[in-house]
């Protein structure tokens, strides 16, 4: 196992109202080398918090994240820097994740210098190489982010992440902010890079059709917990958790013109993470809920070797 997330809890206290945002409520996940784990869920499910914890932008309230058998705690700065290099984060919005006043070349160079990865005289050729890897020409070095299109900017973000020579790339909604015709390009690039450099991916998205396309294993999250985990085809072909089923049913599908009725797949809304329902957090919207669901938090239990579900009505 390359990365082990063991029963991680993350709470954000709100001073003003003395309440707590329960962003992650006991998450356990593993990623093996070369694997792509897709995380899908709606806003507020904690998927971005998880990304921030793994790269050390935040520390867990409880639980541990282990990287190659080394427990990562928010310790000395150097320890984090060592960790930051093998795990890099690509953000959703390439418009705000790049410094508008920094030329593209500088922005990539900065990473190489910070991690002390190349001799001074090699840096420039390394920047050129990285740009080439993401399909951009050398003359982009002198451009500013505003001179690039959205797709080009996201390519720069990826090149910048690769500059740290990571083993694990955490991709937090990497194509959501891009135009439709450009998304396919960036997705193809990610697939190519994975193969070329043997990268491990954590691909986070609200868009199940993108997650489906790239992931080996899919974890479905709801209010800070994993409700279903399985290989990508199991989760899509044979979803077991009622939330997974509703999520799949809600995806607009352009391959079935006029055949899909627009009936609602799921009533109600995701409750606030400051006030998570007792028992199974999904029971208030669940079509198959029984009274017991409000009493016990269902654990993620295997239904076969590679698929697990957190639902006491499914796993009996």
């Amino acid at each position: 196992m390359t990365l082990v997330i063991d029963n991680v809890i993350k709470k954000y206290p709100i001073r003003q109202s003395k309440s707590v945002v329960n962003a992650l409520n006991g998450i356990s996940l593993n990623i093996s080398k070369g694997q792509t784990l897709g995380i899908v869920g709606e806003s507020g499910c904690g998927k971005s918090t998880l990304a921030r914890l793994i790269v050390g932008l935040e520390s867990p309230t409880q639980g541990a994240i282990t990287w190659r058998d080394n427990v990562l705690l928010r310790g000395s700065k150097n320890q984090w820097r060592n960790h930051l290099s093998p795990a890099q984060l690509v953000f959703q919005d390439p418009y705000s994740s790049l410094n508008p006043r920094q030329r593209i070349g500088e922005c990539i160079k900065e990473v190489i210098v910070a991690h002390n990865l190349r001799q001074k005289e090699e840096i420039d050729s390394r920047v050129t190489e990285l740009l080439k890897v993401v399909g951009m020409s050398e003359d982009m070095k002198n451009r500013y982010p505003h001179q690039l299109s959205g797709g080009q900017r996201q390519r720069v973000s990826i090149a910048r992440a690769l500059a740290a020579e990571p083993e694990l790339l955490i991709l937090d909604e990497p194509v959501s902010a891009l135009d439709v015709s450009v998304r396919a390009d960036v997705m193809n690039l990610l697939v190519d890079l994975r193969k070329e450099f043997g990268l491990t991916y954590l691909f986070i998205s609200h868009d199940l059709s993108m997650v489906r396309h790239i992931s080996d294993v899919i974890a479905v999250m709801y209010l800070g917990r994993v409700v279903e985990l399985g290989t990508w085809d199991e989760v899509l072909d044979n979803p077991q958790h009622p939330y997974t089923k509703a999520l799949i049913a809600a995806i607009p599908d352009h391959s079935q013109v006029g055949q899909m009725d627009l009936t609602v797949s799921l009533e109600g809304e995701v409750p606030s993470p400051t006030n998570i329902p007792l028992g199974c957090a999904f029971h208030v919207r669940c079509p198959i809920a029984v009274p017991n669901c409000s009493k016990m938090i269902p654990q993620l239990l295997p239904i076969k070797s590679s698929q697990s579900v957190a639902c006491s009505e499914v796993v009996k």
């Binding site: 709606e42 450009v182 396309h213 085809d233 607009p252 391959s255 899909m260 009725d261």
Partner: protein
């Protein structure tokens, strides 16, 4: 069939330097019909919608063309008359419900304001607006009326905006990416709500989106915009099942199909859309098109009516229907 609204040769330019943003847009909707305008950012879809209501941002103006609504040209009528039409006969739902609502006014007062502005006489305005919230599925409408927009979730805010837009039973509803900011399960709820209200009210609808999946099961016809022009228009079935413009086809091919189990390489369209004002007298898609010939770079293909479907391409992909 008489059209409810028709845009004829509508071109929009920047006021200062005359940069062309949309050119020669022709759209018409008959009563009760729903048309989807699909395009990527910068394709001119939102400007086209805003021009109908005379809401173009400062510095952008209609350069030529006509917008006929119910026999009146909206571009030349008295501003007071346009105020009367706006919100009453044609209403609009925007992408971001937070900015569409007034943050310092209760939802109830904002709804009442709509009635007030249009001198709409109803016996009991309070119960009228309450009813409108019930219709869009807002739980506890009495409390909702007294609440401020920030007290609602994104999905509920969009329901409020929809309630507001339907309050005076408009003939035409313009929706500009109203579900883009919402989660998929909430998006489905809103699509279902709008679709129900439309058929119940026999209302026409113009739905603007970048997401082909959203309109596939929602509208009757689709117009595809690229670099400020409509490049293809047809029934929803035609556009999705046998696209003739290489851009439409490329766009459809680039989307992963949720229900498919194929994980082949996604087809992509090389390059990026050109700025509409830099296109000139050639096909705007020629530089990205795998089928482009010499002719495509030398003259401008125009929409060519072939039955109910038309495509602005010299070498359209053969129809399979």
């Amino acid at each position: 069939m008489r059209s409810l609204i028709s845009l004829q040769g509508l071109s929009i330019k920047t006021s200062s330097d005359g940069r062309s943003l949309t050119s020669d847009v022709n759209i018409s909707l008959i009563e009760g019909e729903a048309l989807g305008i699909v395009g990527e950012s910068g394709s001119g879809k939102t400007l086209t919608a805003l021009s109908i209501l005379g809401l173009l941002p400062r510095g952008v103006e209609v350069a030529s063309g006509e917008i006929n609504f119910n026999g009146e040209n909206l571009l030349s009528i008295d501003p007071e008359r346009l105020r009367g039409i706006r919100g009453k006969e044609i209403s609009m739902v925007y992408q971001d419900p937070m900015t569409a609502l007034n943050p310092v006014m209760t939802v109830g007062n904002q709804l009442l304001e709509v009635l007030d502005c249009h001198n709409h006489d109803v016996k009991d305005p309070e119960s009228h607006v309450k009813q409108s919230l019930i219709e869009v599925g807002i739980p506890d409408p009495d409390r909702a009326l007294k609440s401020y927009p920030h007290e609602f979730s994104g999905g509920m805010r969009q329901r409020v905006v929809i309630a507001m837009s339907l309050l005076l039973s408009p003939k035409l509803l313009i929706a500009d990416e109203p579900t883009t900011a919402l989660d998929v399960t909430i998006q489905r709820q809103i699509l279902s709500l709008v679709s129900r209200q439309r058929s119940r009210r026999q209302m026409s609808m113009l739905w603007i989106t970048h997401d082909l999946g959203v309109v596939a099961n929602l509208v009757d016809r689709v117009a595809v915009m690229y670099a400020g022009r409509i490049v293809e228009v047809g029934t929803t079935k035609q556009i999705f099942n046998s696209p003739q413009h290489p851009y439409t086809q490329g766009l459809l091919a680039s989307l992963p199909v949720a229900s498919s189990r194929s994980r082949n390489r996604l087809a992509s369209i090389p390059g990026v859309p050109p700025k509409p004002w830099l296109v000139g007298q050639s096909c705007s898609f020629a530089d990205r098109c795998q089928f482009a010939h010499k002719k495509c770079r030398e003259s401008l293909p125009l929409l060519d009516a072939r039955g109910t479907k038309s495509v602005a391409c010299f070498y359209p992909i053969a129809s399979s229907i």
